[in-house]
Point group: D2
């Protein structure tokens, strides 16, 4: 062959085994293999770009990641500001609270006898168990706390900040809610009504008439205003679900009110769902461009794998490579302790969308 095709430029470089490789070295050697291994290396590279650039980084989190042992990784990402805003399912926050309150999840089997578990009031999440009795106590603890709050609607963001504060005061333990409280990182939970945190809130009404009101529509406004205030954004998604869509919706909704918004500049998703059944969880990042959720020149990658394999390796690698970049990172700063949050000193309301006349941050 005299001349290589334009398609044959960069050879696959087989992974070579060596003792003592650290996480970042392993990922570096995956840069030029294929399939999901290569995508994982690309994910590492794109995350780096996110923290080098001046963007607000949203992290979405669905699936039983807290129960499954990843909650301190997420706490680490929050504390060290690999991310700026968490959007989570209620279950992940609830299971985090469960452990922060000193209780545990337990190693179980996917082949368990579920009738026997039901007899002993053990709840199963695939290969992991928890005590229903302890869950009931958590619900009650949340209800008691919610009943002490003012009897007015709270956005999930405001409520979760207060919950994190109370949890930190009570326990002094590290976890997602407490790390977010301490780092002043906002958490949104758009499907809070579909979780045990929601159940705790609903039980607050039994304790105090008029308690337990969440202004979930206010969360839409607030999250979009965050983007309007600081239009350059990035999206990291673990597992799809409502967090994935909510992060995209914030961008789409913001663009409606501000021409400075143009979709996420970076997107990284670690999912197990697939595109071809049409569901949002598995939808491709290319499809997201048609909606304007991502800018058409965004750097993006999907890793098709279970987060319990990928996240430990990926964040261990970042812990080696990212600190110097993090040290120089321009993070947005928030105040979250009242009804109206702020970003870099500017107010972010939940009452109405900003129609900005001042320059974006």
């Amino acid at each position: 062959m005299t001349k290589k095709s334009r398609f044959l430029q960069t050879p696959v470089e087989p992974f070579t085994v060596e003792a003592g490789l650290t996480a970042d070295e392993i990922i570096a050697r995956m840069e030029r293999i294929s399939f999901q291994g290569r995508n994982l290396a690309t994910a590492h590279r794109i995350w780096h770009k996110m923290i080098e650039d001046e963007v607000t980084i949203f992290l979405g989190m669905a699936g039983a990641l807290s129960a499954g042992g990843l909650r301190l990784i997420v706490a680490h990402l929050i504390t060290h500001r690999y991310v700026d805003c968490l959007v989570s399912t209620g279950a992940n926050l609830y299971h985090d609270l469960h452990e922060t309150r000193g209780q545990r999840h337990y190693i179980g089997s996917p082949h368990a006898d579920d009738a026997a578990l039901a007899d002993e009031q053990i709840d199963r999440v695939y290969d992991t168990y928890a005590s229903e009795e302890e869950f009931v106590a958590n619900d009650n603890w949340i209800a008691d706390f919610a009943a002490t709050l003012e009897h007015r609607p709270y956005t999930s963001r405001e409520f979760l900040y207060q919950l994190g504060s109370h949890l930190w005061t009570t326990t002094g333990r590290d976890g997602i809610l407490t790390a977010a409280f301490r780092a002043n990182v906002p958490i949104f939970c758009p499907a809070i009504a579909d979780s045990s945190i929601g159940m705790g809130l609903s039980q607050a009404r039994q304790k105090a008439a008029g308690a337990g009101h969440i202004d979930i529509i206010g969360d839409i406004v607030e999250s979009a205003n965050l983007v309007i205030r600081r239009p350059r954004t990035a999206s990291i998604v673990l597992g799809g679900g409502t967090p994935k869509n909510f992060i995209n919706q914030a961008s789409v909704q913001a663009e409606f009110y501000s021409p400075a918004v143009g979709g996420h500049r970076y997107a990284l998703q670690i999912v197990t769902d697939v595109p071809h059944f049409g569901g949002a969880s598995g939808s491709s990042l290319e499809e997201a461009q048609s909606w304007g959720k991502l800018s058409t020149d965004s750097a993006r990658v999907s890793v098709q794998a279970d987060a319990t394999i990928v996240l430990p390796l990926l964040v261990s690698a970042l812990a080696c490579t990212a600190p110097p970049v993090l040290a120089k990172r321009k993070v947005p700063s928030f105040t979250l302790d009242s009804r109206v949050m702020t970003i870099n000193g500017r107010s972010v309301t939940s009452d109405r969308f900003e129609e900005v006349n001042e320059p974006a941050l």
Copy 2:
């Protein structure tokens, strides 16, 4: 071999091809094949049992089923009371509203050039397109309507009833929202904040200060009270997501307040997710037993397949076989037109859980 093992009792009966088979005949011939084909036949059988028994049947709906052409099947299920209560993602209700308002989704390609689509403001859902301009008009239509409502929190159930009513008045067309309005079937949307219906509600605040409040925690109370009032229930789930969990949560939450509740008696799910990554969407119905979401003697089946293949066939079969049973079915009757709904004449509040001293329905 002199004697068959106890395990070898019922032979697989190969499917035989014949011209002119109707949906129910096809499914009858799938009763004794294997794998997901057999599960589909079992699903048909279990749905029959549900409508023969005296249970409240919940239908959960996630994934882009309305955009994907299944909305009139769901409307049919509601109108003919194959089901009694719908729990849906916001997107499915929004895409239903889109078509009921006379607009369309379009046949597209999964291999589309998404940058070109973005240029023309076409939104892609895998192989299906829609006009962003029309979506913006819908959002505005919802915002206008929401701004006319009283400035107080509505449960998603109450709001969606009013929305269905308005839609029926305006269009007179069949669809999910209008069918539910006309049949007095309640709809819950626990993740309404994660959808374009939520976006429309949020935009109502721009039109009228204090508009667009959804009492999503009230939905938890209301759905649990529905189960407390009439404790025998069944669950049909299309695609997992928040609807799947919300239906189970209603049962679990109800059991907390009423010993008469003991988990769904029947469960049928059509899902593409798998159990082994630990997510709720793909979780097995066996696992659900450990939580008390299903009674341990429940009839149950999971069909692992895309609903766009399974639902047309399954409901076409039911349309042949179920009408005589439906005619005798004891359906719960609802009133939905005010803040406090009723089931069979008894109130179902969103303010506090019933702690029943009267006999269950």
Copy 3:
């Protein structure tokens, strides 16, 4: 909106439920829904095109379809010449032989206690059981038969024709092997060594030294010569695996020797595997074009679903719509009863590739 985008031409048409719909009517109503339902309707349309055109239709078959109750559908496709050549895994032919010999597979449970099954020598295939004792008897029956053949290499095609003949003589029952024998449809089994048919052949060596030789490389030559002789081809694949690749390989190998070959003109696959892990089973039909396995203007569709759901519906529909087209179909005719097979009167050798100077059929 004054003018529709070029992308918004054909609206999705929601599926409407009606009692008494036949398989073909159901599929007709799926033509304009989305996702895998639409793909199924497209599969029906493409299969029609195949039988209207003058092409040799290959059918590939992997996964436990015979044990799972689909063997008489495949037999029907062979008998009525919806297809011209079968490429199968050994297991599907073996399980077909098992039932044709009068034995059965049995309805079982995926949650079985496998140690208990092992105790009773019951073999499990997901939710289906079979008797190991009967399997051992089959192996022996195959070994006995193989020992009676000439002690020379047979292509799998020649051997399976002889096996089908013997099975028909012995049992007079319908099945895949016997239908293919009676219809003179060739069967290839490229991975015969990885199956119980291979095990039976290997045991023939215990009975007669020099017995049990399969010329699997001859199968490559023969299958490519089939394509060289009649270059217009189509591929239908159930489940991926070695049959999928072997059918493509026949075309690629044939093109090497004959410029008249240009890849399959039609391709239809029903698979559950996905492209993004790089495996051949899940590989897309677009990718197949880069290899020349498919012509770049081929009509093609992938249906992502379990064949036990899709095949009964699809072939029931074809049984309504296809007979008039089948009656006019120009099928290739084969002789298979000797070492050198023929197609339409011309020899197809396994010794060397044809380098044709005569016009293709």
Copy 4:
């Protein structure tokens, strides 16, 4: 709660992030998380047990792992005798040969224009490209070599040893085939007819009448005799396919002739397929017990993930932890350079199954 349930014994231990973690340290911290992450840690533990015990370790390999950059990991496993016998698809050996001969695979895109690739004769494997021209040259190289061999049937094992030898002599480069040649590790390729190695063999017939004969049934006998000679075995499977079944078949077939055989003592599979469609690739290791493929007390684990993510991490960890155990490992030794191979000095024929009267190794 006064007393913990027997089900709540071992708590989940959240993964904690730390800079500088090596592969083995990462995997150690995954021991007590959940889902596939935990399974990966279990896989590491079970592989250790295999090499500590006295068992013959089979490695099965399907999917495009060589093209995808994992071939030197497999070569490493062979060289350092983490495994004793490789069963592979033909494609993996062919792509290995391609690179060992000095050619490359190339980084590509899954969104490529396949018609453009076809124009330039570039073959695509998901996100990886190769030159068809180079592939044709490989085929020819294999054909030339095969034409020089004796005109008699070779088992795939014998042929691949000779091929590896020729490749080593010609290139002196490391790879799967050359590593196996140098380490005297046998390779079986039961579906060799479904691969480009098979195509090369078939083209040998064009060069020399009577060339290119593979005795694939002999491979069944040989592989079973390996197990009969040394009945304690283990199975490691990457990706399912024919290798997975062939390794199990060797055990099942061996047990037919020798009561000392009782199924694999250890089993580890890294797969992306799922059990519920009934296919062998995704079948569970529990199901394998019903067949006697695994002993009912075997240590076993399935990791549901892409091997391109899992294998680099897993083998990097083993490279840290396993060397001391490997140093003491009692490996079986083979001679492979003639028609009859030997294991630990005893002959392993392909003509007939051993019916052993001498003690097993």
